[in-house]
Each structure stands twice: as C-alpha cells, then as structure tokens.
C-alpha cells in the first residue's frame, strides 16, 4: 500500500517544548488509523501538524503530493466560537472554500450539495438555525457535514466523539466507515478504547513519543497502555525541572 502520509523523525511543539517527540513512520493510503493516548500525549498537536496549522520544530511531515488545503480537518468543538451569529447552512458551506475562495458565489448545484450534506448527517430542517442553538451532538454532526463537503483524500478528525451519545456516535462512526470504504485516508484522535477495538483496524498509541503503532489488537495491550501513561508523567517532571532551571538563573 502506497503511503499517504510519512512522518520523518518529526517533533512538534509549542515554544520549543516538544509535544510530539521524534515520530517516524508511514500511514498507508486508505488507512483508518486511531490516534490514542492520555491527555497531553500530543494527539491534537500531531493532527494540527498534519493539517499544516503547526510547523514541525524539527523533522518533516510528508503529505506525498497532497496540498495542506486538500486535507479535511475537524477541530475540537471547544475551538469553535459557537456564540458567533452564523447559520448552520453558512457554517457548513465553508467546506466548499476550495472552490469558492474569497469571492466565489454558491450556485444552485453547490447549494444542493450543502443541503445534501446537512441531510446526510441527519440535520434536515436545521439549515437556518444559528449554530449557537445547536446541542453538542448536533454541532458535531454539523462539523461532519462540513468534512463531507470538503471531499478530501486525507481526513483528520480531532476527538470527534467526545461527550457524544450512543446514537450519534453510531451515526458518525458509520460516516467514518463510509469514508474508509471510499478509499480515503482517515486519522481520528479518540479516548474510548472499546470503540477503537471494534471500529479501527490500526492504532497509533502516542505518549509524546510513539509507544506502539500497528494493528489495533497488537498495539492496545495492557503493558503498552501502562507505558504510555508513565511516559507522559515522566515528561511532566522533566518540564518542571526546566522551569526551575530558568528560575534559578533569573534569581
């Protein structure tokens, strides 16, 4: 399987502090990969790096010929200002940014696609509702509708199933399954291990560095999970030491 995504000893982080440390490996085209790990393991950071929001501190992420803008990225719901006065329809329509750009209008066909995407996530009739009036689950469905419109070969979803009820999870997982079936490459950051075991063929277990990466059954062992937990804590100690260092020098 040809790779769609190659990590070449990549380190990502903020203010020179690594959040993803020396990651190497390939994600094959058409793969369905779960990215899991404890809080602070670098899942979101890695996905931001792939989406081009964050530049690597060192190393490189090779998209194998894909432009950053051809990736569909679904941010965490907390990053969105849901009090902004914009309708569900207008919000989803931004998924067509690549074809409309700054000034392009929406013709009848594009409007049809937007309505169809909203219907595909089960939100018919919500087109004119301000996004502030949607529930958490409905907002998440709306984000999936936008990803649908983006029609991307590489799809990156940052914790799309947090605090989502069983019915909605099932619907959204079916969409992910559908994208997988269409041969798209899909990376999903998740917390629910059972969900990963039943739905995702491959798993990357992250704890700043990669702990395990491969078929889900082999990656998600009790030992690996324990190692991941400990690695995160060890790195926190290290960060505290660095801060001390600065403080002593300042004094």
């Amino acid at each position: 399987m040809a790779p769609q995504l190659q990590f070449r000893n990549v380190t990502l982080g903020y203010d020179r502090h690594p959040a993803v440390h020396h990651l190497s490996g390939d994600v094959g085209a058409g793969a369905l990969l779960a990215v899991i790990g404890p809080n602070g393991a670098g899942k979101s950071t890695l996905l931001r790096g792939i989406a081009g929001i964050l530049k690597p501190l060192s190393g490189a992420i090779d998209l194998c010929g894909l432009d950053h803008r051809d990736i569909a990225y679904l941010p965490q719901i907390a990053e969105i200002d849901r009090s902004f006065p914009i309708s569900a329809f207008d919000f989803v329509s931004t998924g067509l940014w690549r074809s409309t750009g700054l000034f392009g209008g929406l013709d009848l066909k594009a409007r049809g696609r937007i309505v169809a995407a909203i219907a595909a996530v089960g939100l018919n009739g919500f087109e004119n509702r301000p996004i502030g009036t949607l529930s958490g689950g409905q907002m998440q469905r709306l984000l999936f509708a936008r990803v649908l419109l983006q029609d991307a070969r590489l799809i990156v979803l940052d914790e799309p199933l947090n605090a989502i009820d069983a019915k909605t999870s099932k619907d959204l997982l079916a969409l992910i399954e559908r994208w997988h079936g269409e041969g798209r490459t899909v990376l999903v950051a998740l917390h629910d291990l059972d969900m990963v075991r039943t739905n995702f063929p491959d798993t990357l277990l992250l704890a700043r560095g990669p702990v395990a990466w491969g078929p889900t059954k082999e990656a998600l062992t009790a030992e690996n999970l324990m190692v991941a937990m400990r690695m995160c804590e060890a790195f926190d100690d290290h960060a505290a030491a660095c801060a001390d260092d600065v403080a002593t020098r300042a004094a």
Partner: protein, 289 residues
C-alpha cells in the same frame, strides 16, 4: 411645525448638511467595524486604540495647527505604533495583552494632552478630546467619506476570512492563508475609522458610534448580515437625531449623538427580541418542538 424642526436646520445651514453627511459616512463605515469588534470580543480594544491615536494627532497639531491631513497621518502612525508595541511587549514578557495595551494607551492619552496644551489653548484641547462635527470643512468631509469608502471596500474583500476566523480559526488556517492578513487589515480599518471619528466626535467618543450601534444590533438579530445593517442604520438615526437635538438645545453635538445612541441601546436592552429584559421577564409560551 415639526417638519420645520426636523428639516429646517439642514435646509438653512451648510454646516449642518456637512455634519449630517459626515455622520452618515461615519455610520456606514463604523457600524460594520463595530459589529466585528463586538463579535471578536475587542470592544475595549477599540476604546483603547481611540486613546492611543491622540499623541500622533497632537504632534500633527503641534507642527501644523488644526490641519487635518497632518493630524490624520499622525493619528495613524500613533495607532499602529501602540498596537504593535503592546503586542510585542505582551509576547516578549509575561504581561497579558490587555494590561500591556492599557499601559500604552494611558501613556498615549497623557502624552497627547500634554502635547496639545504645550501649544494650544483649552479650546483646542476640547476640540481634540470631543471633536466638533459642526466645524467640519469640505476637506475633512471628503476625508471622512474616503475613509468610509475604503472601509466598505476592504471589508468586502476580507469579509469571508474575517467571519470564519472569528468562528473557527483553526479550520480557516487549514484551508486558506488569508486569516492573518485579514486580521491585520481589520486593525488598519479600526484605526482609519477612529481617525475619521476623531474629527467629528473627538478621541473620547469616536468609538461610541461603532460599539453602541453594534450592541444595539445584537439585541435585534441573530445573523451577522442583518446585524451589520441594523448597526449602520441605528448609527445613522443616532447621528441625525443627535444633530437635531444639538441644534435645538445647544447640547454639544458629539455627546448629543452618543446620548441618542445610548437611548436606543437602553430601549434595546429592555425590549430587544434576542435576550431583551422584557422578553425574559414575560416569555411567550413555549413551543411544541
């Protein structure tokens, strides 16, 4: 009789016509800017920037008297200097951006008042602090109109990225590089509109015709397009009524305009369709679904 009171001042006096034209131009540019300031939670940034432009305008005044072009250029330079400096201080030290901006604009305001009083009289100082929309000459009016035109054109260009950057900044960064330039241009537009407002309403009130109409609009619409229209319209109404009131009662024009806007705001807080007090106290019966 009533028509006389409402129309005669403008039919009879050229300075009233100029003032009305200026206030309409200010409203058309400042209304939309105010809505974005409010939605991006930058209302107080606008206020701070209004004070920040004072020393620049004052230096312009010092060098060439009440010359509009000099004062405007000075104001633009000072506005950007404060915006950039406070950004740099906030990023390179532990100081938060709001505290840093506050320090700079307070310094600016003190500096500006000092500079004006070195050369000018108390009348000049009053002019700088509160403006005088009734004393606008043709040249100033033209400048205000040009600024409003620039504002609307640039806003049309950066509208989409500005909206999406406000709702979902991370998503915008994955599909376009327009986010940062749009934000920067927006800052420029804020300063440009403040400089316009500065001529008419003075440093202390120029931001009033941006923020009050935007706050009014928030109570009447839940979509950004009507919100912008309502903001511009209520600014124009405040301007017109304020000028008439000022003409008939000798209340200074700037404060009269802002007080009329404040009255509209108070009415909106009480009776607004979205979150107005009365609506909350006496809600309509709930719906089936």
């Amino acid at each position: 009789m009533l028509a006389d009171a409402l129309l005669a001042p403008f039919a009879d006096f050229a300075f009233m016509r100029r003032a009305l034209a200026a206030v309409i131009a200010l409203s058309l540019g400042g209304g939309p800017i105010g809505v974005f300031l409010m939605l991006r939670r930058m209302s107080l940034v606008g206020d701070a920037m209004a004070h920040a432009i004072l020393p620049g305008a004052a230096i312009g005044f010092l060098l060439s008297g009440l010359n509009l072009f000099a004062m405007t250029t000075g104001g633009l330079i000072a506005g950007f200097a404060v915006a950039i400096l406070s950004g740099v201080v906030a990023r390179s030290t532990g100081l938060k951006e709001d505290a840093s901006l506050a320090s700079f604009y307070l310094t600016s305001l003190a500096l500006g008042v000092t500079i004006v009083s070195i050369k000018g009289t108390n009348v000049d100082l009053l002019h700088v602090l509160f403006g005088n929309i009734l004393a606008l000459d043709d040249q100033t009016l033209l400048l205000v109109a040009i600024n409003a035109t620039i504002t609307l054109v640039v806003l049309a260009v950066i509208y989409r990225p500005l909206v999406i950057e406000s709702v979902d900044p991370l998503f915008l960064r994955t599909v376009s590089r327009a986010g940062a330039p749009a934000h920067l241009l927006f800052l420029v537009l804020i300063v440009v509109n403040l400089v316009s407002g500065f001529q008419a309403l003075g440093t202390l009130l120029s931001v009033g015709l941006m923020i009050l109409p935007a706050s009014i609009a928030r109570f009447w619409s839940r979509d950004i397009t009507p919100m912008i229209c309502i903001a511009a319209a209520s600014a124009i109404v405040s301007g017109y009524v304020g000028l008439v009131v000022s003409f008939q009662t000798r209340i200074p024009s700037g404060p009269a305009i802002i007080l009329v806007a404040a009255t509209l705001y108070g009415f909106s807080v009480l009776f607004g369709r979205n979150g107005g007090v009365v609506r909350q106290l006496f809600p309509a019966p709930h719906l089936e679904a």
